[in-house]
Symmetry: C2
Subunit: 178 residues, 2 copies
DNA sequence: TTTTGACATGTCAGAGTTGGAATGTCGGCG
DNA sequence: CGCCGACATTCCAACTCTGACATGTCAAAA
């Protein structure tokens, strides 16, 4: 029970505004998908666990068995604790980077193709984020400020990935000529 | 059985050179730790599964029960298939980025402290990689070429993270003044 | 010769993640 | 009114990952 960021992602979302599991899923898909994706089964399961643990409570019940959850004081305290006292884990797995270590098992042509396709993948992702940037109505509320920071991170990250991949392809070319 | 990169990381390492589970662990720690960390139990468990699946074979046995594994033709084919035909998954979880979405639940001072500590964490990581760069003897072999590419990725990534975090802290400051 | 440290493997429980299946309800459009 | 699509929850099997525990061997330094 050390990491478990899903839990905190849910606390954070519900601290912004109470919601049902269904609503939560949509919020995960629309805003957190690039930072912490979650599936339905995970969300509903966690909703139950967090409620039993006293970090959430069912604030209202609606039609179709809808249960609207809100964060308790204890939940808010836990969110705060996580944000201020827990150092983010540095571990980040990347199967894209992993492949780079094994590029020597491909022909130069195949390896270059991989790097170029990585560059294009990153570029595509970058364009998608630019699209988001254009379409989102940046109100002045606190939520948008954070969203903008996260979006900028994505923009910089995808740009960096594209540049790196193109650079790496070029390095490979140079190494081959030697 | 779609993703499972650990499996392919092991195939890749063993394709470079046959090794025991113990050796493999050391290689994971020294070179792959930033792309795909693995624990002992995972490595030994996977070694068994891969052997049973015919992708690996025990090439030699040594003292202390040492078993040296090597990749079979089938294993090499699978490695190649993974490298060329499987698109890297774009999903990357980041609890550091996740926190950014919830910065509005902190005071401005706390939020800024978080971003600054992120910048410093990234800077520290960056310096560690520079240290690696200085100390590694860059031979001309294929392996080093890949390692250099991966190292450069790390260098660019950590630099980007530091710059972003400092920028974000500044944005927060500006937003507060409005 | 004893002891220490590196070598070496194996097993386990518990937590997290994935993807899918099953089930049912409500609101509004034709 | 009947149907469709969105709303809404619950359960499950299989797999991955973490961290710890357990066990034993060999080489060489003290």
């Amino acid at each position: 029970m050390v990491a478990m960021s899903l839990r905190h992602a849910m606390l954070g979302l519900l601290a912004d505004q109470p919601a049902s599991g269904y609503d939560l899923m949509k919020r995960f898909e629309s805003s957190l998908s690039n930072a912490w994706p979650a599936t339905q089964s995970q969300v509903y399961g966690e909703l139950g666990k967090l409620t039993k643990a006293g970090l959430l409570e069912v604030a209202a019940e609606g039609p179709r068995g809808r249960k609207e959850y809100s964060v308790t004081d204890e939940g808010r305290a836990e969110l705060h604790r996580w944000l201020t006292e827990t150092p983010p884990s540095t571990v980040r797995r990347s199967d894209a980077l992993l492949r780079v270590f094994f590029l020597n098992h491909l022909t130069p042509v195949e390896a270059t193709a991989y790097l170029i396709s990585e560059a294009e993948r990153a570029a595509g992702h970058h364009r998608a984020l630019e699209e988001v940037e254009r379409n989102v109505d940046w109100g002045d509320d606190a939520l948008s400020v954070n969203g903008r920071l996260a979006l900028e991170y994505g923009l910089r990250f995808t740009a960096m990935r594209e540049e790196w991949a193109r650079w790496a392809a070029e390095e490979l070319r140079k190494a081959r000529q030697r």
